[in-house]
């Protein structure tokens, strides 16, 4: 019985390989951590591709997010990984590329449809080679309760002064908590606070690059200013915000008790389901009227090619298709809040997602300032330090200057370009 089973297995394996190798059609498998999206890939995205390419059969084979990195490494080393590999941003994928476990895709036609910022998460530090096709980013901004704004006669703020005036007006009225955010989990303070409003002060990509090159310091006024603004946030957060966790803030907002939620676009699906009032979104406020607008459009997910794939040609057809408008449209609509990184103009059905993506037309994009290079190796880790510093500033434990000085001293202690 046991032998029969094994024999059957072996035969079917051989058959499977034979079909892959000899028949005209090819089968490719996608490795991914997005098991939440399994039905979307199976029912929406893959059928569209296979309708256009009937001789390529694609299977989406996700692993649980927490196990993905470890499982993928084991599969790549054992030679059993799928043909297409979903790429984490920055160092995790760069590491795979350096080990020869992701193919160099430089020159692939699809990559022309993406901006350099989009590609930076999956390129070598000097930008000479790109090893994944960017898929999606998440955009930061503020989601607000439209009903509450209408009730209080408020407009979407455009500048920092207007933003503070709106917060003050909501506080004076007293019906709503002005802003739903807590500092217990710390990361929101960094992601939805510092990285949300900051890029316009430090000049987006220019500022980020200056820190990497060592020509600017985190103690420069343009890096301290966002902290100074966040130091004023505390009074507009709910009572006891110091002990308020991330799910508390989400619930507070969707229950309609808070008017504004500092957000990332990944919240859209959840908020659409949970909130029974009308949702709106506005951009991070401009420092001054007429300033250039820069949004945090953080690269999050991409697709690369396993260099050992026996079906590399078919896989490349798929990667090329991922650069098309059709894919961008399908993907962004199936997962509102995860926006295609391609340069194609796309239209979304979800109004809130549409609002977020419309900002790309008027604003420059940047990524989270410490995501690339600055957190590679070295103690203390800048990313973790930013969590604590941002939460401390909102809690009033540290002044903006102290927080920035702490970050800069930590970075200088190990990052060579900052040491002169």
């Amino acid at each position: 019985m046991k032998y029969a089973l094994m024999g059957g297995l072996a035969t079917s394996l051989m058959l499977g390989t034979a079909v892959g190798a000899f028949a005209q059609s090819a089968e490719i498998t996608i490795e991914s951590w997005r098991n939440d999206d399994l039905t979307i890939w199976q029912d929406t995205i893959l059928p569209a591709f296979m309708a256009a390419n009937p001789d390529i059969k694609v299977t989406f084979a996700p692993t649980a997010p927490t196990q993905y990195n470890a499982a993928l490494n084991a599969k790549l080393e054992g030679g059993t990984a799928g043909d297409l590999i979903t790429c984490r941003p920055f160092d995790a994928s760069l590491d795979l590329y350096n080990k020869g476990q992701l193919a160099d895709l430089t020159g692939l036609a699809a990559l022309d449809n993406f901006s350099d910022v989009a590609k930076s998460a999956w390129s070598t530090d000097d930008g000479s080679a790109t090893f994944c096709v960017p898929m999606a980013a998440v955009i930061h901004g503020f989601i607000y309760n439209k009903d509450a704004f209408a009730e209080l006669g408020l407009q979407e703020p455009e500048t920092q002064d207007e933003f503070m005036a709106v917060l003050e007006a909501i506080k004076q009225d007293g019906t709503y908590i002005p802003m739903a955010m807590g500092t217990l989990d710390q990361w929101e303070s960094q992601a939805m606070g510092y990285q949300n409003i900051g890029p316009m002060y430090w000049g987006g990509e220019k500022g980020r690059q200056a820190i990497i090159d060592g020509t600017a310091k985190l103690t420069d006024p343009e890096w301290v200013k966002p902290f100074e603004i966040m130091a004023q946030w505390g009074q507009y957060l709910g009572d006891g915000f110091e002990a308020q966790a991330y799910p508390d803030s989400q619930t507070l907002f969707t229950l309609g008790r808070a008017a504004i939620y500092p957000a990332g676009s990944w919240e859209i699906t959840g908020f659409n389901n949970d909130a029974d009032f009308e949702l709106g979104a506005f951009r991070p406020p401009l420092p001054n009227a007429g300033d250039a607008c820069i949004i945090n459009d953080h690269t999050d997910i991409a697709m690369g090619l396993n260099p050992d794939s026996p079906n590399a040609d078919a896989a490349k057809v798929f990667l090329d298709w991922m650069g098309t408008e059709e894919f961008a449209q399908l993907y962004s609509n199936a997962l509102p809040g995860f926006f295609s990184l391609s340069n194609n103009a796309i239209t979304l059905d979800d109004p809130l997602a549409n609002e977020f993506i419309s900002w790309r037309a008027d604003c420059q994009s940047t990524i989270r300032s410490a995501a690339q290079i600055l957190t590679r190796g070295g103690t203390p880790n800048l990313w973790s330090a930013m969590w604590t510093a941002s939460a401390n500033v909102i809690n009033g434990i540290q002044t903006p200057q102290e927080a920035a000085a702490g970050l800069q001293a930590g970075l200088e202690s190990w990052y060579a370009p900052q040491q002169n």
């Binding site: 217990l184 709910g238 006891g240 110091e242 966790a245 103690t379 880790n381 973790s384 809690n395 202690s413």
Partner: protein
């Protein structure tokens, strides 16, 4: 009588000693000694972050831990927090445990078993449940603690206990006391019950009753048990990690005020978010934790336990 020499010669090798010791020694070696040795070994190596080459660095990791300001700062802070955590347990958990055990053993309480079980119950709960339930109860948004304090006129005492630097560690320590007070209670209760009736009767004949009897007779007799409880508390507290991780996250906020050696070790060893894990540095911290606990236990064994008089009962 056979001569003694032939007796020795004839005695066969006592295999049963090996057979009986073998399994325990094997399991203990595999589960405890090998990992400890491996941890110690890891702490002498370091991996190059770019080339992934492992090199022997001797005591360099320890040098970093003690002299690099970005390691020694968090380490001493975690050590100090850990010390406070331990002191709060010693001052609150163990006296309360003794008190409850004394009350349970002294009086004829109706429903005694119910109290005993109820007080012991939280010890059996998972840290995750304890952390979550208390976080919810203390929540300034949905928690019951604000209302409860207000109802007894202490509403102004309420604050976001877990979110303030000055109160977070004490709050966590008290939650942990609430969870584990059942252990000293049970051990002391058992010790109190094992005091022979004759001793108590003799004391009563001499006119030693009530509180005096407790302090002059019973407490002296249970001191060795209290010693054991102290050492269990010490080892448990210096290995603590779960409660802080479940309520405050890996960064042990606010501003690292609840960072214990365990959370520092976790963060270092496994990394967090974009902070890559550093198993070698983590092993260094783990080794230091081991030595701190070893020194603590040794001090107890050599200086305290020897002076405790044990009475035959």
């Amino acid at each position: 009588m056979m001569p003694e020499t032939s007796n020795v010669r004839k005695r066969p090798f006592r295999w049963h000693i090996l057979v009986f010791l073998g399994p325990a020694a094997f399991v203990y070696t595999v589960i405890m000694i090998l990992p400890l040795a491996e941890t110690l070994r890891l702490s002498f190596f370091q991996v190059d972050s770019v080339t992934r080459v492992v090199t022997f660095v001797g005591l360099e990791n320890y040098n970093q831990l003690f002299f690099n300001v970005y390691w020694v700062g968090p380490f001493t802070k975690a050590l100090w927090n850990n010390f406070l955590f331990f002191v709060i347990h010693m001052l609150v958990q163990n006296p309360i445990g003794v008190l409850i055990a004394a009350l349970l053993s002294m009086f004829h309480l109706p429903g005694k078993k119910l109290y005993r079980t109820a007080i012991f119950m939280p010890t059996l709960l998972s840290f995750v449940i304890v952390g979550f339930v208390w976080k919810l109860m203390l929540s300034p948004l949905w928690g019951v603690s604000k209302g409860m304090l207000s109802s007894v006129g202490l509403g102004s005492w309420f604050m976001p206990f877990l979110g303030r630097e000055e109160s977070a560690l004490i709050t966590l320590a008290l939650i942990s006391v609430w969870q584990f007070v059942g252990i000293p209670m049970m051990l002391i209760y058992a010790a109190l019950l094992s005091i022979p009736e004759e001793v108590i009767e003799a004391a009563e004949c001499d006119g030693v009753t009530g509180l005096a009897q407790f302090f002059k007779i019973k407490l002296i007799l249970i001191l060795p048990t209290i010693g054991i409880i102290s050492i269990l508390t010490f080892v448990g507290n210096f290995n603590a990690f779960d409660l802080v991780y479940t309520t405050q996250g890996p960064l042990a906020g606010p501003n690292f005020s609840t960072d214990l050696l365990g959370t520092l070790l976790y963060r270092t060893f496994y990394g967090q978010q974009t902070q890559p894990g550093d198993p070698n540095m983590g092993a260094t911290i783990a080794t230091m934790m081991f030595f701190i606990i070893l020194v603590g236990v040794a001090i107890y064994l050599f200086f305290i336990q020897r002076r405790l008089t044990r009475y035959e009962m």
